[in-house]
């Protein structure tokens, strides 16, 4: 009976796998289409480090930079000082800078104790695989309407003139 049940479940999966779907695309830094979902700030399931849910409605009307990182990720740690400098350069702009890790709150908090940054470090409960985040760091930028307009995998100097312009102005690459 159990075997039959499993096989029938498999059948559902297989039928689903065969459907082409009708997915919306999102521009990436390389100009290619993601086979992607409708990614919004809400789908990132962000939490403050006290465990409370980050109310994304407070971000409405702002450009939002979300850098996905982890405490063990060396390229992530390497680019953090440049995110700090970019945060300072963009202080007067309508931009919110976030860095989100899917690690345990305790581990993230421990990292913050030893590394003082002024940008908002938060947790994410999102399934990064479903968000098509294939390596860390990966950075998303949402426009003032909450639309994902930029995705890039890998570290960069976020305080370079090119990056500052990108954070400020990118609407579609």
């Amino acid at each position: 009976m159990r075997v039959i049940h499993i096989v029938l479940v498999c059948a559902v999966f297989m039928l689903a796998a065969c459907s082409d779907g009708n997915k919306s695309g999102t521009a990436t830094s390389s100009g290619q289409k993601l086979a992607a979902k409708d990614i919004s700030l809400a789908t990132l399931k962000l939490r403050n480090l006290d465990g409370s849910e980050l109310d994304v409605t407070t971000l409405a009307g702002k450009r939002v930079f979300v850098n996905f990182w982890a405490t063990w990720c060396k390229p992530c740690l390497a680019e953090m000082p440049s995110i700090e400098r970019a945060t300072e350069l963009l202080a007067a702009k309508n931009v919110v800078m976030l860095a989100a890790s899917d690690e345990k709150l305790e581990r993230i908090s421990k990292f913050i104790e030893k590394n003082s940054y002024s940008f908002n470090i938060v947790a994410t409960e999102a399934d990064l695989g479903i968000l098509e985040i294939f390596a860390l760091p990966t950075t998303f930028i949402f426009d003032e309407q909450g639309k994902l307009v930029f995705k890039e995998t890998g570290a960069r100097e976020w305080d370079s003139p090119e990056s500052i312009k990108l954070i400020n102005e990118t609407n579609k690459l």
Partner: protein, 406 residues
């Protein structure tokens, strides 16, 4: 050579086909293998010894301490668990996990990761040997000569018929002794090392295999008729992180050479290393790439011990997070597991290919989260069946697919 038969599902008159070209013969079902002692466990590692016995190791982490156990499969039942080691200072990580291997004659070996410093991801590899089917274990030794607080892990153990074993691992000895801040400098380079562990547990022959590799992807080593081969994720000067191999020859280790040259140019951590297997001169290796933002699992096969690997065969379909494993069923057939993403849901898949790369059959084993907590699903074969292990619902889950013999 034994032949296996794979075909389409026939269940209650309902014929179902996957997306791949499906033969028309009967396909064997997926059988869940239950074991109460796998509840609360994680980080499974599957292997098959020379006698054909399947060994499953796993970790039970209760926050105050962690323990490495193993169990063996007989008559579709997992044996009572055997504890290898337990301590309060282990580095327990979803991607860098312990292993237990067996020679089939009583000799066994295990490795785990020990963290003796606070702060940062600094840990050492500990190795222990057993001569009595795991009833007792030697005092563990450190696998590497570097004893400073730096990162060492992503180990692959290979048993030699003589009782020695080879180990490949990532070694952060070129890093400054670490604190949380040491990772801030991208000029630091992770190395790939290899070495041997004698039957008595003595470590010898440590050697640098590649001086600059990706920081946090698994290594995978196999023993072919022509010698050892180690697969790993390379890191070029231009931050291209494709899969490479080094092979042991009469002249020593070869220079690294790339498989497939995907061109995944990222200054980032994929945490998605290759897996490989070998029987005689036949070698199979699988890996994940997302070059050009196009995720896929690739399979490369070689009939000359990795000297001339085939053009990669795409294993996955539309979207995947990788975490692939591979096992040669025999010299004619190879099985691959990976996590496919289907309509925003992870699905653990297994497929069987002929040795020339033709996809024969494919199974959906289970839905599985693509979050890190589900770790790296494992695949092995005893020649008569495929055995799969994965973590979900706070337990190690296992399943078996019997292979129909012609």
């Amino acid at each position: 050579m034994k032949k296996e038969l794979f075909g389409a599902i026939i269940v209650g008159g309902l014929i179902l086909k996957g997306c791949a070209p499906a033969p028309s013969e009967e396909r064997m079902p997926v059988q869940k293998l239950e074991a109460t002692h796998l509840s609360g466990a994680s980080l499974p590692f599957l292997s098959t010894d020379a006698s054909g016995k399947v060994i499953l190791s796993y970790v039970v982490d209760n926050d105050s301490s962690a323990a490495l156990h193993f169990t063996t499969l007989a008559d579709q039942q997992w044996s009572a668990p055997v504890k290898v080691a337990e301590d309060t200072n282990w580095f327990v990580n979803w991607a860098d996990f312990p292993s237990v291997i067996s020679w089939g004659d009583g000799k066994m070996a295990a490795h785990w990761l020990e963290k003796n410093w606070t702060g940062g991801t600094n840990y050492h590899v500990k190795v222990s040997r057993s001569q009595d089917f795991g009833a007792s274990w030697n005092t563990p030794v450190t696998l590497h000569s570097d004893t400073l607080p730096r990162e060492h892990g992503f180990v692959s153990l290979v048993p030699f018929p003589s009782g020695r074993m080879f180990a490949s691992w990532l070694d952060g000895r070129k890093y400054p002794p670490a604190s949380e801040h040491s990772g801030h400098d991208l000029s630091n380079e992770m190395t790939l090392m290899g070495g041997y562990v004698a039957v008595d547990g003595h470590v010898e022959g440590e050697e640098l295999l590649d001086e600059r590799v990706c920081d946090c992807c698994q290594t995978s080593s196999v023993l072919s008729d022509h010698g050892l081969i180690t697969f790993y994720r390379d890191r070029s000067d231009d931050e291209v992180r494709d899969i490479a191999e080094v092979r042991w020859t009469e002249e020593g280790w070869t220079a690294p050479s790339l498989l497939g040259e995907d061109g995944w140019d990222i200054m980032a951590c994929p945490v998605n290393g290759p897996q490989s297997d070998a029987i005689d001169e036949q070698v199979a290796v699988v890996w994940f790439t997302a070059a050009d933002e196009t995720p896929k699992v690739q399979l490369s096969l070689s009939g000359d011990a990795g000297e001339h690997p085939s053009v990669p065969i795409k294993v996955s379909h539309k979207s995947t997070v990788g975490r692939a494993d591979v096992k040669l069923i025999d010299k004619d057939y190879v099985a691959v597991s990976w996590i496919e993403v289907v309509e925003e849901t992870g699905v653990l898949k297994v497929a069987v290919f002929t040795i020339d790369g033709q996809r024969l059959e494919e199974w959906d084993i289970t839905e599985i989260s693509t979050e890190r907590k589900t770790g790296f699903p494992q695949l092995t074969s005893d020649g008569k069946s495929l055995i799969i292990a994965w973590t979900s619902d706070n337990a190690v889950n296992t399943a078996m697919i019997a292979l129909k013999e012609l």
